[in-house]
Every structure is written in C-alpha cells, then in structure tokens.
Point group: C2
Chain length 453, copies 2
C-alpha cells in the first residue's frame, strides 16, 4: 500500500544498482536538516514511529509490481530479476533515530539508515515526507504552546491540509504540547484527545429563533459541559447570551474582531453576569506571536485554538530535511565516507552520532556531532550522552513497538522534558539576534576526508 | 475509512441536530475562497473528483462508531439514535461544482452542497482539506508552467509533503500543466506520467571509480534514454562527462550553484563536445519567478524540476477556503438565506451560481456571481454560461464517474483551455498593481436580506 509512495528516481537507481551488481553494497544514509528553517531555534522530532511501522511493513504488492513493469520509463531496468527483487523486498537494514519528542538542531542526523544501497535508497522519499511534515508541525506547535504559557492550545488545522495528512498533523501537534486536536481520526488512530463544539453554521441553522435559542439548545445537548462560539452576529451580545445559557457553558470562543478589546469586554460581561467561571478561548488565525502579544497585554484568555499556523506553518512552510548517502562500501567491502560538493549544498560525509550535554539541573547545554565510531579517549562527563538510539537491527525491531497510542504518549512526555530543558536563548520566539548555535562538530568529523571524485 | 477525517465539532453539532429534531432540515453550504491568497490572480480548480468519490463512498464502520461511542466529549449526544443514524449514514444530497481544471476567483462557490443539515455539516472538514490542498497546488503549478513558457515542468515535491498527500499533489500539479510528477503512486492511482532518473547518491555510490563510471553505468542501464545529474562534484566537468557517456544521455540536470552562469556554460560544453542534442534541466528551489528570470536572461534551459514551490507553495501556504451555510429551511420548510456578520469575516448568504463570460475568441472576460435561482430577464448573450454543474442529485451521480485516470486527463485538458483563455492582466506573475477583480456580484445577490438575529 505504501511502496509506491516514493519517487521514480529511487526505482530507476534501484534498477541500475541491480544491473550493475552493487545493490547489496552496504550504505549509510542520514536524514537531517542542513539549516534550521527561518524563525526556528530548535526542532522537536516527530514522525519516527510512522517511519518504523513503514519499514516494518514495507512490501510490494502484485498490483504495484505489475504497474511498474508497464511503465515505459522503467522498461530498460524492469527485468525479471528486478521483479523478483521487488516481490521479495523486505527492509533488512538498521535504523537509528533521535527519539520522538527530543530536540534536534541543524546538521544532526534525525534518522540513520544502514542497509543495502538498494533498500536504503528506496526509502528516501517516504522518510523525508514524514519527518518533513511531522517534525515541522511538532516544532511549530511547541512554539505556540510556549507562547501560551501554560494555557491549553487546541489544534484546529485539519481543514487547511490534505485530509490524509490531518491525523498525522494532529498527532504531531499533540506531541508538541497541544492539549487536543480537532481531527477525529487522530483520536481513533493515535489516541490523541479530540476537541470541538460548534461552528457558526450551528447558530445560523437556528434561523427561526436565533442565537439565544441556539445557545440554549446546544447547552441542553451537552449538559456535561461545552463551549459556545459567540461571534456570529455580535460578540458582546453573544457573551451575554452564553452567560445565560446555563451551567453547562464552560467556555466561550471568540473567532473574529479585535481580540484584545473583545477578550477584555467579554470577560467583564461574563463576570457581570455572574459567570466568572466561564473561560474564554481565542481563535482566528493565531500564531505564537499573536498569542504572546495578547497575554503580554494582559488580555484574559484562558485557551487558544490554532489552525493554519500549526498545520501549514506559514512562517516556514518547508522544513527542508535532506537524506544523504554518507558512507558506502567500496569494492573491498570497506565502508568509506562520501559526500557531495555541490556549491551551497555540500553533504557531510561519515556516519554520525550526536552527544547531548545537559547541566546538573537537566538544562540543555550543547550538542556535539561526532563520527558514530569516534572513540572518546578518555571519556568524560563532558561528552554527553548519545542521542540516536538503535531502533531496528537487520530489519528487526530492537524492542517491541508500543501501540500507536502509547508511542504518541511517550513522545509527548519526552517533549515536555525537552521543552523544560530549553535554555532561555533557544526559547525566544523572535528571529532577532540568534544565540550561538548549540551544535559543535568534533574535530574528527570535521577532518574526515570524503572519498570522491 | 474516511468518515473520521472530520473535525470533532461536526459530530458534536450533528448530535445536537439529531436531539433537537432539526437534522433533516435542508441546508445549502458553499465552499469558496473569500479573497484570493497573496500572489494569485486566479485559481485552477482541483480536488472535485476526490470529493465526489468521498461522497459516494462515505460510510461509518463499526470500529468508527464504537470509537465515537467511547469518546467522553460526545457522551451527551452519542445516543442509540445517533448510533443508528451513523450506521445508516449515506450522502443523499446534491452536489454542484465548478469542474476541475476551470478557473475560479474570489467569492465564487467552487462546491455547493444541498443536503440535510446533518449530512452537509459533517462533510465540511474533508471538503475543505481536499480543495484547500489540490486547488492550491494546481493553481501554483499553473503559474510555474506559464513562466516556463512551453518548456516542460516536472513536479518533484513529494518529499516535502506528507507521503499520504503526495499522490494528490502530483495529480493536482499535472492538472495545472506539469509534464510529470516524481511520485510513483500518482502514476498508479491517477495515471499521471512519472519521471525521474538519478540522485547525487547514485554518483557517490560509485566510490571506486567516480562520476565518470557512474554516468557510463547509468547510461548503459537506460539505453532508451535518460537524464544525468551533473553537479555532485563539479558541474562543468560533469557536463563533459555526460556528453561522453553515450547516445542514451538525452538531458543533464543542474541542481545547485549559479544556474544562470552554469546553464550557459553547460550548453557551451555540451555543444563543443558534439552533443547539441542533450537538453538541460534546471532544479534547486525554483519557482515561477526564478524560471522567468532565467528565461528572460536567455539562459538555455529546456525544462525545469520544481518541488517545494509547487507542493508547499511557500508564497501562499494557505488557500484559506471556507465552507459556509448560506441557506437553511425554517420551521415552515422554506429555504431562507443566512450569513454570519463576524467583523472582517462575514459570509455571503444565498445559494449562488457563477456566470462566466468569454469573448468571441474564447478569452475570459468576466464572472458574475448571482443567486442560483436568479432569473435573467430577458437572458442575453452577455449573461455568460453557468459555471457550476450538477454532479450529484439525491446522493446519486448525475453521470457515471470516469476512471481516476480519465477524470485527471479531462481536468488537465480543461486546464489547458482555461489558461489559454486568461487575459494578459490575470496572467501576470508579479503582485504589483492588481488588475480590477474579474468578479461582479449581481444586484439581486447584493441586496439579498439575510435572515438572522
């Protein structure tokens, strides 16, 4: 089902590798982000769990092989041997990864795949697509959650993205710290809490008796508690009506207008109506900057609904992760470092490991990117702990996979720790003057000679 | 499989509608784009075919209903009656739509759903997600294709987006005029031509004997013709090696560096090596502006590979389509127009139709948005032709669905006509001074009183 979620060139290369007899050479590919995208000081890793399930389950179906055989562009290499190869395909390599919910920075391998050249090549597109999407969303969600300073953030952005992506975005946003998603499928697939009450259409649908009746009816439908959307006609009047719609009303949401003015006015109206217990939720194209602005101005919002900013990240729509061959077996079966030298886009040769140093209080201090097999002699407390952990060995899982719900929860809990460990400089939301990069590259890695042309 | 690709609030409202006894009231919802996003002068509609298949197939599985029954947030409304409703759910309404491949502008309903309030409400999230994604991608692809001025554009952006979205993006890009996509699944599902040859990793993998051997081996693998990527180490040297790799080499691709300088140099090198027949393809974060710049400067590129710009549209990451209730039956079973008045985000009441006027040469002149039931008295040639066409009636397809491949081809052919019909003012790529909006709103629609609060 997922085998053709790959780029044509992966299959063209695979065909050539088979013909040339080098398909089984061992290679190491790393997935990393060359530079943090604009407006980001850290990444929060998400998507690894999906990658692992993909690697575990990857097979070519008959229909997929038949389709490939019929493609004129592949006819030169779609031999019987390639067909046999594809039908027998299993991922039999190793995967090391930075765990979901951990911080990552520029130049750090988030995933490291060690496998036959043909296998590792084929995975490129899927792995990039997943990490580019989920890490992008989780990293942005974390910024929004930091800005909300303890108040819940609800991710409402399913409608802005492809429906097939929405559950994954909901999961990534939850890992990043959102309290819930609007996407129901994220609840079913990943156990993410799901939230949502009414749209403007609900109020409009009560055309005979208007907003007041709509509010009363909805509160009657949800006696255990609900939130009312109060800006369909007149937000202040809506607030008053919500205050009078009974004890089931736990919150109101404002989705348009001057949120700073309206937030204060609605608070006053609710309080004056004897409902200081009703919380106020803001939405309407919010992002971390608008949320921080509202809170710094003391506007009394209790929670935020954020859509586009989290799922489409318009300030940095592309994470720009890359997947590069860093080592390959030569004809003597020795793994040698390789890297391209394309101007402005060189790749860093050699299999890597990241060592993360925290201070005594658990605060993040610095990462050192080293060769994976670099010996620390003598090892000291200053070396930090290795960040990439073994996930698969020879195609087998190193530990039983937790359920998707458990994996999601684990990632979210790790993210809480990660965000707590962020020093102030990396927590800043504004671009402004950047703090020095928290990533050091070891001398051994810097001096590594890449074999090449 | 797709029923829970919806927002929680759609289900919460559905529950309340059932409890209140208004679920079966007939309503009209329209999906439209309030304002064209920045840097866009037209939209090219895509995604309708997927919407239709969704409406045709939408069912709640047992697992989905069981999940919903277990959700605490829905417990108040998840009655036996709602369970029965969901298990029997079918879309039984009407769908009218602007066909895929047609132009659309601000304020025009791309989809109009006329159905029971409960049904039409439930669809919102999926319909928005699909049109927001596919129309966004197709519209951008069309701009890039216009900039390329007849030269092929290959969409290479699968790796930048969620893998589950990639085939749909490939289809939308193809509708927008791209010659092919890199996404193999778009070929299998939608019959989109798929293209791609080698990555830098292929060259790096030939560590024993280098780029020259890599090129020769790949050309041997694809005797019917292929494209070589020449910037792994040194682009000019790569060009020379490609020129000497045999007749199978039909094109070279440059993916880094100064594309203006390199394009000219590589052309000279290929020509001097007796290979004027080898075409040159540029990639590397291209968009319509960079492509136009290269071509205006006379850089001799023959084709372009474009990824991020098409699938993530960083200049306008969000299309911002909305789905609004515009008419609802009142208690006397009369459909009445409704609209919200939220500041800055009002909705336009009343079911609408768009009349498109072309001149004698087939060039686009103007759209008029009218009430769907507005009588044109007397009708004249100046009225234009209605743009939204009936697609479903009472849940049944008005015509047999073409295969996904046929539907995609049909949409692409319509898009060719649409782009050909664009007047110069709407063809401009730059923001600059905008031409006057090509959309007129009829007096009857402007004067329509919305029933409300």
């Amino acid at each position: 089902m997922q085998a053709l979620l790959t780029d044509r060139y992966e299959l063209a290369m695979l065909g050539s590798y088979l013909r040339e007899g080098i398909a089984e050479r061992r290679g190491v590919f790393e997935l990393s982000v060359r530079r943090l995208p604009p407006h980001r000081r850290f990444l929060l890793v998400a998507g690894v769990d999906r990658v692992v399930r993909y690697l575990r389950d990857l097979r070519f179906s008959d229909a997929e092989v038949d389709y490939l055989r019929a493609q004129p562009g592949l006819a030169d290499v779609m031999t019987d041997a390639m067909e046999v190869y594809l039908r027998a395909f299993r991922f039999r390599g190793d995967l090391d990864a930075i765990p979901e919910g951990a911080l990552a920075f520029e130049g750090e391998p988030i995933l490291r795949v060690t496998a036959s050249l043909a296998e590792a090549q084929l995975l490129e597109t899927f792995l990039l697509g997943v990490i580019n999407t989920e890490t992008r969303v989780a990293s942005k969600a974390a910024r929004v959650v930091l800005a909300a300073d303890g108040r819940p953030v609800f991710e409402f952005g399913a409608r802005r993205v492809d429906p097939a992506m929405a559950p994954h975005a909901g999961r990534a946003a939850y890992i990043g710290g959102c309290a819930a998603t609007s996407c129901e499928q994220a609840g079913l697939t990943f156990g993410v809490p799901v939230a949502g009450t009414i749209a403007h259409s609900y109020v409009l649908a009560h055309v005979d008796d208007g907003e007041e009746a709509a509010f009363n009816r909805f509160a009657e439908s949800f006696p255990q508690g609900t939130t009312l959307l109060i800006d369909t006609y007149d937000t202040r009047r809506g607030a008053l009506r919500a205050a009078r719609a009974g004890a089931a009303v736990r919150a109101v949401r404002i989705d348009s207008g001057d949120l700073a003015v309206l937030g204060r006015d609605v608070r006053r109206i609710l309080d004056a109506a004897g409902r200081p217990d009703i919380q106020i939720i803001a939405s309407d194209d919010l992002d971390e900057h608008r949320i921080r602005g509202l809170l710094e101005d003391g506007v009394p919002y209790d929670a935020f609904g954020v859509g586009t900013a989290i799922t489409l990240t318009p300030d940095s729509p592309s994470l720009g992760a890359i997947y590069k061959l860093v080592e390959i077996e030569d004809r003597r079966d020795v793994l040698v470092p390789v890297g391209k030298r394309s101007p402005g886009k060189p790749s860093s040769a050699g299999a890597k490991q990241v060592y993360r140093r925290l201070d005594a209080s658990g605060s993040f201090v610095e990462d050192t990117v080293r060769l994976a097999d670099e010996t620390l002699d003598p090892p000291t407390d200053q070396d930090g702990a290795p960040l990439l952990v073994p996930v698969m060995r020879s195609g087998k899982l190193v530990r039983d996979l937790p359920s998707p719900t458990e994996a999601t929860q684990e990632a979210r809990e790790r993210a809480v720790q990660s965000l707590r460990s962020l020093p102030d400089g990396l927590r800043l939301l504004d671009a402004g003057v950047s703090p020095p990069s928290p990533v050091v590259v070891s001398q051994a890695l810097r001096m590594l000679p890449a074999r090449g042309d």
